[in-house]
Amino acid sequence: MVRSALASKQRIGQGPKAGAAYVPAASVAIATLLSSLPIISANGWYPDFAFLMLIGWRLRRSDVWPSWWAAPLGLLNDLASGDPLGLSVTIWTVSMLALDLVDRRTIWRDYWIEWAFAALLILFYQAAQWQVAAWMGARVPFAFMLPSISISIAAFPVAAWLVGRVDHWRLGQK
């Protein structure tokens, strides 16, 4: 009794931050705006930070946002990154629905399985980008996409780690 009364009062004011429900979406929007950094990429091998954050959050928590939030976030990404309008809107929302389905079907999960899901989604996103680029008159051999795909897949654990840190911060956990 006495001991608990004397214990540190750290837990007071340690609840979720104000607006914690919107922190995940805001972090995806910030990752989207990374594309306006003054870095000129000659070969396009940077990972897609915004998509990695999006699936990182969704794989961490199933209730992080209603699925349809991916559509406006995708629109923001299309506008900021110069992709054809509608590409990220479609692919991001489909990814959310696919992960809803995965949540229903999987019995157990660990880091490797989540990484595998992330890899599949990254492959799907980049293949869609490649196909849309081909329709718009920029058909490149698919082999040119492989470095970019592998770099994005390799960067997923970093995004997942970052998502974990932000999640702890927004919920006021240690």
Partner: protein, 291 residues
């Protein structure tokens, strides 16, 4: 980690259901937008221009930071072996001086010949200059952002070049920034010719920063590593005699080249009027053209 089960709460059940319906609607809207974007790329040009303007302050502000850091790094490197660089630069200057005299003579001769032929050509004026401040990160397309927009006179479809060579052409224009389709993009095709022989070639981007050169005439592969290609002015969009790329290797009948103006390294780029105004007509308003 199963899907959240709403339990017996009717409100929670409805919430989940409507969220699902909204997501399906989101996919449908996305597909429609995408279909429009592919079928009519100019459909959303105002929206895209506004988005460019909205992000341009971030890009321009951070550009100073990265430029300073880069300048410090390369400046220190230059200081390191100043003596040997000095000697090399002096040699190059002497060589250049000889070539300059020859070039002047050729220029004069050229002027006389043109006057004799009464060849009339429109000198493409520079419309605006800006910095290349950003690019698409991860995508099969190759775009960059130029820090000059419609308030500086830039229009969609203008050729963009740097001092070292051709950069590309504008595809989206906001008030303060514009998006440039780089010559290394797959959908960029530039009519060109080989500087050494004058043979006409086609430059098509490969999407990974390099360019594929195809000869227009069938026959022996005309390329040699180290060859320079320049624009030919055919088609009327790009002005002639702008350096494009240097051949790095030969592959089959074609050659792979690297752009002379590396978009990541050039500091300033210039947007110019189309060499022949008609080349831009299908892309811009007629009111602009008649002016």
């Amino acid at each position: 980690m199963a899907a959240p089960r709403p339990g017996w709460s009717r409100r929670a059940q409805y919430g989940l259901f409507f969220s699902f319906i909204a997501a399906i609607a989101g996919v449908a809207v996305g597909l429609i937008l995408l279909a429009f974007s592919i079928a009519a790329p100019n459909q959303f040009k105002d929206l895209r221009g506004a988005a460019l303007d909205a992000t341009s302050p971030i890009t321009a502000a951070l550009y100073q930071v990265s430029a300073t850091a880069e300048g410090l790094a390369s400046g220190a490197g230059n200081y390191w072996d100043a003596a040997s660089q000095n000697a090399q630069l002096r040699r190059e200057r002497d060589l250049m001086r000889e070539q300059l005299v020859t070039a002047r003579a050729i220029l004069q001769e050229n002027r006389q010949l043109k006057a004799a032929l009464q060849l009339r050509e429109r000198t493409p004026g520079a419309v605006a200059s800006g910095r290349l401040v950003g690019s698409s990160f991860q995508s099969p397309r190759r775009f960059a952002i130029l820090s000059a927009g419609s308030s500086d006179g830039v229009r969609i479809g203008m050729p963009v070049r740097a001092a070292r060579g051709l950069i590309g052409r504008t595809v989206d224009v906001g008030a303060f920034a514009s998006r440039v389709l780089l010559i290394s993009d797959r959908s960029s095709i530039v009519p060109a010719r080989l500087l050494r022989t004058g043979q006409p070639v086609i430059c098509q981007g490969r999407g990974d920063g390099s360019i594929e050169l195809k000869p227009l005439e069938v026959g022996r592969n005309p390329f040699r590593p180290g060859d320079i290609v320049i624009t030919s002015g055919t088609g009327g969009l790009y002005p002639p005699l702008v350096p494009i790329a240097r051949v790095t290797r030969i592959s089959g009948d074609n050659a792979i080249a690297l752009p002379l103006a590396d978009p990541g390294a050039v500091s300033f780029a210039i947007a110019e009027r189309a060499y022949e105004p008609k080349a831009m007509a299908p892309l811009t308003d007629h009111a602009e053209e008649l002016r």
